[in-house]
Symmetry: C2
Subunit: 263 residues, 2 copies
């Protein structure tokens, strides 16, 4: 079992309750990463489902849970031949922290009938840029879990030179050797700095709603993440992330609506 | 009160229950349009919220309700200063038909800090194309509720000449004189033929999950709908719809995951 598998495991108590333990190693200077928390929830949902894969996940982030024990509560809304729909809630000390609606199904490994192209051409990985180590005093334990190599203009804000558009693009893999799977994708769609940093914003940008779709099972190797936004206004912004695998296939799509940080 | 307002009204029974009456005039040859049903749900959510606008809505379509009386059941998940999060369920005869998570907030009429451009240039409305009247025997009562003028290549499938890509673009307004509002937008994001028709598919394409974000309050006049998809495979497809208003502002964004029809 890898560290990530261990940090996301969900132990069945009964058909509607799973015990989980939220790992402090996924902290963004305090709050735990939302993608990591979705991965934990999805472990429970898929374990309780007759289907193998979390195909759609819509999550509302109500509050930030603390590291430590928590529970996932499930309610099956519909069990179908093709898909099962489940409501899953992350609960800690009797309070709901994340509310989700999840559709599980079993994806087959077949070529797509039609697929668009990646949004833009990425530079080769050796020309991409890593972020500086945030250091232990930052509380950014999350960044040690992964290797991320950024398309340089999309992190120009590091040098006071933001591109002016909401965008972020990067190669991604877990720091420990592990092939990507749907749970890694759940984290990947929410692992990059907010796209609004490239448009000049700063600070913690709380996600209100994040919906993502698993489109195919990812091939081993690096993932490529294409993040972009369509509008920033009145303190709200949208962030779209497409995830492509090393075989050149679109494997996940997410969109979140979030608040612009005040930092 | 307009016909649309009447067809979507929700009458408060108590703080967690609203009575609604699903109008047979929104039928797609049997099932009621999903966007219309979201509008009904959102009337109840907003009425019960301290905020004015449905900013994010994630809906799972479990089953197709019948026209006639139904109820919306609400559970407030979090009440905040900026946003309130609510679970809302459409219930008929004790069974859940649509499960939603909704964030309400109050949008101010301010210019965006940053906004992308419309996806493509639309031809002028007088060069666009309307669909033939489906006739009473089709059961397509929904099409009488609205005026829709299509960008011609995106409905080439009508003549056996699909464009080959999942896409549909059109101007839209209600058939009765009514300015667009958030409830009209809820219907607009789900009112066009499935984008897969342009890629050669046919038949009823059931939506599994639809998430949409209200980005601004629409100006009076025609709306422009830009629908597109990124992948079709293994019987699943995604459909994105952007809605722009007559003042040239992005007012809504949706994405749904749906099943390709077998028609």
């Amino acid at each position: 079992m890898t560290k990530f598998d261990e940090a996301t495991q969900a132990i069945r108590v009964d058909e509607t309750t799973y015990d989980v333990c939220l790992d402090p190693g996924y902290s963004i200077g305090g709050p735990l990463n939302g993608g990591y928390l979705m991965a934990v929830l999805l472990r429970a949902v898929v374990d309780a489902s007759p289907h193998e894969h979390p195909v759609t996940t819509s999550a509302q982030f109500l509050r930030s849970p603390a590291p430590g024990p928590a529970q996932v509560r499930l309610e099956q809304l519909k069990a179908g031949r093709t898909a099962t729909m489940t409501r899953a809630t992350l609960v800690q000390d009797g309070t709901s922290f994340i509310e989700t609606l999840v559709t599980t199904a079993t994806l087959r490994d077949v070529a797509p009938d039609w697929m668009g192209r990646p949004p833009v051409a990425m530079p080769p990985i050796e020309r991409c840029r890593t972020l500086p180590d945030p250091g232990p005093e930052s509380g950014m334990t999350f960044s040690a879990q992964m290797e991320v190599a950024y398309d340089p203009p999309t992190v120009g804000w590091l040098d006071g030179d933001p591109s002016g558009s909401p965008e972020v693009r990067a190669y991604f893999r877990l720091a420990e050797p592990q092939d990507p799977d749907p749970y890694v994708l759940a984290m990947a769609v929410d692992c990059l700095p907010p796209v609004v940093f490239s448009a000049g914003a700063r600070g913690w940008a709380p996600t209100v709603d994040l919906t993502w779709h698993l489109r195919a099972l990812p091939a081993p190797g690096w993932l490529t993440l294409f993040g972009s936004g369509r509008m920033i206004g009145d303190g709200w912004f949208d962030e779209d992330v497409e995830v492509w695998d090393s075989a050149g296939r679109l494997v996940a799509q997410s969109r979140q609506l979030a608040r612009v940080g005040r930092g």
